[in-house]
Subunit: 215 residues, 2 copies
DNA sequence: CGAAACATTTTGACAGTGTCAAGATGTGAT
DNA sequence: ATCACATCTTGACACTGTCAAAATGTTTCG
């Protein structure tokens, strides 16, 4: 039994407790009010206790973002399960899972896509984010095989993948950063944002579907 | 001749100098290294000199973002001028101007869309951002009138506007936050990002164009 | 069993931050 | 010339991330 497997050392498993505290603070107070010392305070340890588990602030948030990417993967996989095997349905579900996650966990989503807060070189983060990307890539690849008659170059395939990702990510970002609030007559509740995002995504996929023979 | 019109008071026009310093620091060191005190230092004044011109840090960045929105407007208007009056061309140009601006001025773009750094209640910011949105709205409205045969409800019209905005904003954000770096074989230069974004946007507009009779 | 080796946490310090209060200084009007 | 006022400086405070050193708990091994 090694150290990392034990559950009752000085604090128990402080690493996990700090990540929990991080989540609590970010959800309660927002990312801008999060600090290493606030995190330590929340976990009930001294201000420098995190140093042994994370190299620095970015190290902690990198681990937090890694976990968040795994949750994003879960969200997309979960959405896919409730749909038929039709690649268009699967692609739609993947994007819906993305939007659903982003707007349900705005704090996590912020950290995941704020480059300066992360250590992009970190392997586990790269693995988790690459895996998340792979799900979208896979869904689009399957869609293209069935709905796009002409074989595509890698660049054109990538264009479709990034187009779909951009739609999801752009809408999620704009809604999450409250940049749609000023639009009159547009319901600003989180659930409505999610619903509207799905509507928007659905229209997007229909568009590329019904135009697939011409471009 | 009022105070604000004078050019040689204690410092000259410190307000403008501070905004210049802000721009210099954000472009040189990045937003994460920007601070009020660094800004004052850059402008050659004491650490608390900005207080008389801006209520606080958010106040300064709000003014900075307001100017940036005006530059975004210029970028979109400029792109539109070089195209034909065809609404599809104009819509394309609008989006291209958006992407061009976002990737040419990543620091400004970051500030503009980081809600916690801004005072969203500020009137001038609201005006400038609403005007920028209006350009996109106008371009899409013109496009819909010509290319979409059926009259749309406000909600469906908004869906199209937000879809186009999301494509531009999502791609610009992902590229700007370096979230596309890991894609193998994908050139990471800023100019290539811009070119690819325009390609992507062009495909998007073609898609909605060629599918307009069916959905 | 005990002592050494080690992982973990605490304490203290330092330079940096935003913001507040108070004082100093330059400018325009009367 | 004096006064009101805009502008800027100085000093202080609590907060931040990170470093170094000390203290404490746990494991290992003789």
């Amino acid at each position: 039994m090694t150290y990392s497997e034990k559950t009752n050392y000085h604090h128990g498993d402080l690493r996990a407790a700090l990540l929990d505290a991080t989540d609590k603070i970010i959800n309660r107070d927002g990312l801008e009010l999060f600090s290493l010392r606030a995190c330590a305070r929340e976990a009930g340890v001294s201000h420098n206790a995190p140093a042994h588990h994370f190299a620095d602030l970015r190290g902690l948030l990198t681990a937090y973002a890694t976990n968040a990417f795994d949750l994003l993967i879960d969200s997309m996989e979960y959405a896919k399960k409730s749909r038929s095997a039709d690649p268009a349905e699967q692609l739609l579900a993947t994007g819906e899972g993305y939007i659903q996650f982003a707007l349900t966990h705005p704090g996590k989503f912020q950290v995941m896509f704020r480059n300066e807060k992360l250590d992009a070189k970190h392997m586990e983060l790269q693995n988790s984010s690459a895996k998340a990307f792979g799900i979208l890539e896979h869904a689009m690849t399957n869609w293209l095989e069935l709905y796009h008659p002409i074989a595509l170059t890698d660049e054109k395939k990538l264009k479709y993948i990034l187009m779909a990702w951009s739609v999801c990510h752009g809408y999620a970002t704009l809604a999450g950063e409250r940049k749609l609030d000023f639009i009159s007559g547009f319901n600003q509740g989180t659930n409505h944002h999610i619903d509207f995002g799905k509507l928007l995504l659905n229209t997007f996929i229909q568009s590329i579907t019904y135009s697939n023979t011409t471009i």
